[in-house]
Symmetry: C2
Subunit: 316 residues, 2 copies
């Protein structure tokens, strides 16, 4: 069975000056610092240090060989989503990065594929760009788990997911724009507390909001980071559903009946956690490098419980 990494991010080596292009501040740009290294900046603010595996297919393929990965499915990082921007800017930005992804994949000796991004604040524009990208060779789309205060049960987003199902586009849901930043100002807690909560919110909203009831079962949707905190909290959710009328939401069945409707990746960094979501991992942990984290799932025709059939490599 081939090992396919479905959760890793890329950055092009260069892209246009988006602040100048659109006349608005704080767009991401890449500041090359030394050979093979760069910083992602948001306007004047440092966001993250990255290195050449983000943009150089040779470096990436070498790392895949080292880690025993047969194929990678690339996606942008959520910092590029621009859902809060005017749709014409977000669409133009999406097209830039979507085309850049295909260029990078074209140099990947058949081992690199990609997910596109869309301006999810506008459903018509998102459906149109998704269709364009599928024709151009993307395998699907990566979306954020929310658009402002709209969760994944928002009627427009459900419409977009329906379009994805019909287009055969796989959907990877990545947490972003983490909630309550003033409550977790330090220690990267938006990543260790906020992100899993965002993913939990995405899954719970889809279930209780009736999105899975409306969507066809052929939709392939996967939640990042092992589904956030969902696996451990399913009991709490199920209990609330049975005992509190207001927690019942709109869904036709108890929450546990929807586990066969979505996938999760194996990026939980803990074999015990992976076991908790029904994954059997070889010994070893995933690495934790900044923007090119090795986290992957071996694709399979089977859909075991709520998880992908997964493999992981050791780098320690």
């Amino acid at each position: 069975m081939p090992v396919i990494d479905i959760h890793n991010h890329f950055f092009p080596r260069t892209w246009p000056d988006l602040a100048a292009r659109y006349g608005t501040p704080d767009w991401p740009w890449i500041k090359h610092t030394e050979a093979g290294k760069a910083d992602i900046m948001l306007g004047d603010r440092f966001f993250r240090s990255i290195y050449s595996a983000c943009w150089d297919p040779e470096v990436r393929l070498n790392e895949m060989d080292r880690d025993g990965v047969d194929m990678q499915v690339l996606s942008a990082t959520p910092v590029l989503f621009a859902y809060e921007r005017p749709v014409e800017h977000a669409l133009d930005c999406a097209m830039l990065f979507n085309d850049a992804a295909l260029e990078l994949c074209a140099r990947g000796k058949g081992r690199l594929k990609s997910l596109c991004q869309v301006p999810l604040q506008d459903i018509d524009a998102s459906c149109k760009e998704l269709s364009r990208c599928m024709r151009a060779g993307h395998l699907g789309v990566q979306i954020g788990n929310h658009v402002g205060e709209k969760n994944l049960d928002d009627p427009g987003i459900v419409t977009f997911l329906h379009h994805c199902a019909n287009a055969g586009a796989a959907v990877l849901v990545h947490p972003w724009d983490m909630l309550a930043p003033q409550r977790m100002p330090k220690y990267m807690m938006p990543w260790t507390v906020g992100m899993p909560a965002e993913t939990q919110l995405g899954i719970v909203a889809m279930i209780l909001g009736g999105a899975f009831d409306k969507l066809p079962s052929k939709l392939r949707i996967c939640f990042a980071h092992g589904g956030g905190s969902f696996a451990f909290l399913l009991g709490r959710l199920e209990n609330a559903w049975h005992h509190h009328p207001v927690a019942h939401g709109l869904c036709a069945l108890p929450p546990s009946h929807y586990l066969n409707r979505f996938y999760v990746d194996s990026a939980v960094f803990d074999e015990r956690g992976a076991a908790g979501i029904g994954l059997s991992l070889p010994a070893g942990r995933t690495s934790g490098r900044d923007s090119h984290t090795i986290k992957f799932a071996g694709l399979s025709d089977e859909r075991p419980s709520a998880g992908w059939e997964c493999g992981n490599v050791s780098r320690s």
Copy 2:
């Protein structure tokens, strides 16, 4: 081994009109609706329906017999905390409920004990009330996982926890005042998404903020609901700690080294989840009744991994 329920809430049958007493609106009050039933109101707003087990020790003891519980340690519900109120009001309110808890326990045939509450927005007042309550017969204190934007690594809260350790007062941390309510307006998601995130935030802040390094190991502190989402997210936290300098926080050791510093209860409503936190449960699930939920832990001198030695009963 006796079965001791350490997480259940009480309401007195009556208490003074706090809005009139303090001249400020939206205090909780109890509206008796029919024999043995009542609604908790927050000003004009309905909060929760409860029944006589909340205030009648006879009813409570009968339920304990039915459920195989030897002893209960009662606590107020977080809706009574009043941390956002002037301290003199919150202290007066705490004293009212603390004394009411002891009255209820006095009629419990030795099988009811209690945790007090304190005005945690004021550390001196909290230490003083904790000492008064310990002398009066409380076993410890229940606190919220935050006070406004102060997490459990706040120096004042750490001082209070130090006082609890020295006083031999057990501490139960309950999530409350859930984050980002505008992001989860429906379906009780503040309870199924927000509460576990709050508890995760409490534990992570204590670890990364260095609170456990400062506090003596004799502190007995327990987090509600199986520790929120912490158990499943430990791998993510540990990975971030090792790979991102900013995620390192102030703590001396990796996060996994602090698992022997706190307890979690068994209120996870799922045997698989319980197994994930090192608990071995008999068959059966906890019940999910509103304000008198059966969730309990058999006390033990041992501290197995991150959990209490727990027992659970079946009511289905």
